[in-house]
Symmetry: C2
Subunit: 367 residues, 2 copies
């Protein structure tokens, strides 16, 4: 993987960069839509291409449980399996083990957990996480971490930082494909000294990029932003930085301000399936009765397939009637919104006016 900063904002940490993998080049700051089970819900690879997606995220935990990483490897890897030519990042499974599975039991070696699908017992440690991700064959893979809940007391988080470093070392020693970049994950909850300790330890090991984990799990926005800004100081400028599971447009602006390059979140796709559409003028709940006979597109300034062809009235009808097409059309729109938002951010950075852009966006959102 190549990472090249192409523009650093004069004031503040915002930066523009290019990442090149075996599956093409994309520009950062970048948003990665989530394709949990090897499919960005309701969209085809063609839809993703048309939205301008350069890299997507898939979940190691889900693909390990179903259909199984061995099967995907035998079929030529995840890119081929899902017919996606662009970049893929797989998470390590750590977060899903923490958030989805029941009866999680953490040891020095890893985590024993029950499948959310059938209750069967499984174990994933750093070696297993690497083996699974090698089989899936994503362009960017993540070290296996221990994601502390929120709130969690200091001692719990200190131990989680210790385990995360211990496991990170093991991940670095495990086999992976030459074309796979491995990112380390910084934990530490909302404790500044633990974040610093985690960052220093992980960075000292020498990963291809660095992620901030354990955020967007319940803490408020100001706290999150403080943690991100404090932590980024300990990350090397010449490597990509990834803020995991973030987020809302305002959270992305915060992250970019702090110098973050990569983001992922289920928000645009999940909200779409719930009928919550993003527009320049704020959120639009398509089920509202006021849209029943509204002949306008969701957003008149939007150029997506949905806005080019369908009225709010039709989208509301599809949604109320639970027509499958509703989920796809809404997702196409929301993803287009996010991709456009990131393009505007990159443009603003390039033109050294990101601070103004951010300010204007936040003011408009509040009105």
């Amino acid at each position: 993987m190549e990472f090249k900063v192409t523009h650093q904002c004069l004031s503040g940490g915002a930066r523009r960069a290019e990442i090149t993998t075996a599956h093409g080049r994309f520009e950062t700051p970048v948003f990665m839509p989530v394709g949990t089970q090897g499919s960005v819900k309701a969209l085809s690879p063609e839809d993703l291409e048309q939205a301008g997606v350069g890299i997507l995220l898939a979940n190691t935990y889900h693909l390990y449980l179903r259909p199984g990483h061995g099967l995907i490897e035998r079929l030529g890897g995840l890119h081929r399996f899902m017919s996606w030519k662009g970049g893929i990042l797989t998470d390590s499974g750590g977060y899903q083990v923490y958030s989805l599975s029941k009866l999680r039991k953490i040891s020095e070696e890893g985590v024993t957990f029950q499948s959310h699908l059938d209750g069967s017992t499984h174990f994933i440690g750093p070696r297993e996480a690497m083996e699974i991700q090698k089989a899936l064959g994503a362009d960017v893979i993540m070290a296996f971490d221990e994601c502390a809940p929120y709130p969690a007391d200091y001692d719990y988080v200190r131990n989680s930082v210790r385990l995360t470093s211990q496991w990170a070392k093991i991940c670095l020693k495990c086999a992976r494909s030459d074309s796979q970049a491995l990112f380390g994950i910084v934990q530490g909850g909302v404790y500044s000294d633990l974040r610093e300790r985690s960052a220093r330890e992980i960075v000292s090991m020498g990963f291809d990029g660095y992620a901030l984990g354990g955020l967007s799990v319940g803490e408020d926005r100001a706290t999150r932003q403080q943690v991100v800004q404090e932590t980024v100081r300990f990350l090397p400028a010449e490597k990509p930085r990834y803020l995991m599971g973030v987020g809302k447009p305002e959270d992305i602006l915060d992250g970019v301000t702090a110098g973050i390059d990569l983001f992922d979140c289920v928000l645009p796709t999940r909200n779409a399936r719930n009928g919550a559409l993003f527009t320049k003028h704020g959120p639009l709940a398509i089920k509202n009765a006021c849209y029943a006979d509204d002949d306008r597109p969701v957003d008149e300034s939007c150029s997506c397939y949905t806005c080019a062809h369908f009225s709010r009235a039709y989208l509301r009808h599809l949604f109320m009637a639970k027509e499958l097409l509703a989920y796809r059309l809404n997702t196409i729109h929301n993803l287009h919104y996010y991709m456009g938002f990131m393009a505007h951010i990159r443009q603003a950075i390039q033109e050294d006016r990101f601070t103004d852009f951010r300010q204007a966006f936040l003011e408009q959102s509040e009105t």
Copy 2:
């Protein structure tokens, strides 16, 4: 609407024709996918175009209940509402009132019924059916008929034929748009003399086309074919003939043999959503374990988007994981199969080898 027979088979009734409406030209024998609620489930208009769909069917009963024909009319009609540039045929609501609603009460004036959505009471008679269909603005609209259940005794069906003729006369007198063709419906159950009576009465009124209703409701294939062949004899050769709600590929072959031009059925789209895929080698149940690691496309000779990009293994995974993409990819494939099947039928008619084509297809299906 223009209807032009372009080739009549030398032996048998099979024929090829062209139909031109305000929304383009298509060739017959034609299959109309069903867009019950103003959407062919899981597909966009672009998907339909790519499958080669020339005309689709939408359901008057459903659109009347939700979102309402008045709303669709105010928004410029059904074509504009669903952003579909091709042909549309709306049924009269008669069949859905019979099959979906509860507490149906038939009078000389029409049918009082309860909505399957909320139990509210509604009335549709010939005038209402025409008013709704005028508002929807389809290219082909259907007279309001009384669809007898199966089995039904002679007296019930005789009365249903009487009502259907009575209502057909009223439909002809009702206002419709100049560009809308109105088809009459022949009823009569499986009673030859009642079918003849119904056909003679309906034809004498002078419709733009003629449909056979009340079939594919439980009778066996041989009975249906006998009824169709006996009834077609009383329909004028210079008008299109439509066999409503049919059907399976073998039923379509039977219908074409009898001289039918138009077909509609939920089979390809509904089966797709249930994971039952059509192939040249017979049906394929994608959930079967044998496809878990099958790297081949559903049908190696198929050129649809699904077969060009995805393996059986991936489609099985999507289906087992209930991913929304499964429904669209499966539907694209099945509809492509049906459209290709109809194209082969038309080609065989053109080349005077339809009887052989039919024979070969049926033999292959049985093996």
